[in-house]
Symmetry: C2
Subunit: 339 residues, 2 copies
């Protein structure tokens, strides 16, 4: 039998996909076919390797719609908000790929490698704009006030995203970092958008302000917990569970929670990090060193604590019925917990 999450997903995802496609069509006009084609490629709808996997899991918009339902509303009314967060997410991916010079995204060549930096940058700007247009359509499905409030939250989120990105870029090559430098970065890069998702869902359901704030806080904690958990798996995870090779985050030099903790210890790990790019072959010993210095315990405790706080905050918001169960399930899945 399908779980609650599967049942909701099978209703929500096709409706979402249709609304996303409609939003993207706004960018298209005669002479603009190429712009639309680049967006549709990135969204996973077109071109080589297109399909459900190429588009990503659409977790953020699903979170919007589930929160709308769990807060007692009709999730259909929240669709413009769901579209907006997914477009913001994709805008940030397109620009991230340029900034990191990443060749691949979800197993396919990134836009900038196919069409150059200039066009890809412009596609990102277009997705950003479409997101801002989408969120204001809550004026049609909910109310003027809801649209304006959701718009403000989404824009504050984008500001947090750019702040987090600034920090991430400015950490490049620095060795004087500690775990204290981690939280403001992931607040911006991960938690802000998840907290916008949960807030916008509740707000679209016309939930009380206090309830909307609980949902917002739930999303924020969920984001922080997710990132800490993901970082743990990136260093000590099983390749089968993550789809990435174990310890790949050490090789890529990603500023994970364990790595930043390790830097602040100024031990053997920090000395090796300062010497430049880490090779695959070194990672088992380096991961063991990091663990011996206490990084694994520190990150595990943080992930555990944040996960508990997230689920507790969700419970305080008193999500209703099967949507509440589905939301719990999605959270646990996102946190890669078995139950």
């Amino acid at each position: 039998m399908d779980t609650d999450l599967q049942q909701f997903s099978s209703l929500m995802l096709p409706a979402l996909e249709q609304e996303l496609q409609r939003a993207v069509q706004q960018a298209e006009q005669p002479r603009m076919e190429g712009l639309g084609a680049m967006i549709r490629y990135h969204m996973g709808w077109e071109g080589q390797g297109s399909g459900a996997e190429a588009g990503g899991k659409r977790i953020r918009p699903l979170l919007v719609l589930l929160c709308a339902a769990a807060a007692g509303g009709d999730w259909h009314a929240a669709l413009p908000g769901a579209v907006a967060v997914e477009l913001v997410h994709n805008f940030s991916l397109v620009h991230d790929d340029i900034q990191d010079q990443s060749p691949l995204r979800r197993g396919r060549p990134t836009l900038w490698t196919l069409h150059g930096v200039a066009q890809a940058l412009n596609v990102g700007d277009t997705l950003f704009t479409l997101a801002q247009l989408a969120v204001l359509r809550l004026a049609d499905t909910v109310s003027l006030e809801a649209a304006l409030e959701a718009g403000r939250v989404l824009q504050e989120t984008c500001l947090a995203l750019t702040r987090g990105q600034y920090l991430d870029l400015s950490y490049e090559g620095r060795t004087d970092l500690s775990e204290l430098d981690y939280w403001p970065m992931v607040s911006g890069k991960t938690a802000a958008l998840l907290s916008a998702c949960t807030f916008i869902g509740a707000r679209a359901a016309q939930a009380q302000p206090a309830t909307c704030q609980l949902y917002r806080r739930f999303g924020e904690l969920l984001g922080l917990a997710f990132q800490a958990q993901d970082d743990l798996l990136g260093v000590w995870g099983e390749a089968t569970a993550t789809g990435k090779s174990t310890a790949s985050d050490l090789v890529s030099g990603k500023k994970t929670l364990p790595a930043l903790y390790g830097l602040s210890r100024q031990g053997a790990f920090a000395r090796r990090w300062a010497q430049g790019a880490i090779r695959e072959v070194e990672t088992p010993a380096l991961a063991a060193e990091l663990e011996a210095e206490g990084a694994r315990e520190y990150a595990s405790a943080a992930a555990e604590r944040l996960t508990g706080q997230a689920l507790e905050t969700l419970a305080q918001a008193q999500p209703v019925g099967e949507a509440g169960l589905a939301l719990n399930e999605l959270s646990r899945r996102l946190l890669k917990r078995a139950n």
Copy 2:
């Protein structure tokens, strides 16, 4: 004696600058000093070569404020809209400079040359977000409805900007273009933002919908006229009038109205264009060839017609008092007409 425009400018520009600085402060937080510093450098407030010239002429926000006053409103209420259009303008400049790999902007090194593509791209995204946040503050100074409507128009404008940018980039290296390819590009790249300025000003003044539409159309025509006029000066202008060397637009390969007209004639100009970069020394002969093929007459007639239509549309909107006179003066100055 000061003209009306000078009198309004001396009141409006300091107030605008203060609001702009306040808007930008939103991006700053502890640890984010570097992000704020990059923005303040680009805005002309800080760093080597800072000062009034480094910030540009602030024509767009001035247009917002003058339209608000000319439409019978208190221009102070329109300040959030003025801030928003100036931030959108600057977002597009920061990203344009990356896309065009331009080394200089207003005589100073561009952000990407100083801080790299990744950070500069992120500064552009930050300015974009700050603009979207600013426009919604019209909810505090005017009304919810005005904020939402202005927000929508601003976002449609950003969409038009990205469409225009797509066309400009996609014209690169093409020789099968004509003057028909010019208008959709400049509609997006120049006219859309000017029409947002004039609309948002009138809307902030709570003008009637029909009047707001006249202002919007006025701004659009003003933008098209300005670009056609600017393109003419870029090929046949006096160096003293434009501050650029004569015919520099031919050397830079810019897709101006005369150049696109010349391409469609498929004559000597088009053949030379197809052979690649034009050297300074060739420009006098090439400009003469372009004139002989009818490009100057065509572009002049277009600029003349659009200018007339713009000023006529403004008159239909019945701008009031000295603000109306100042708006007329700003338009004529923008169109580089003597009277």
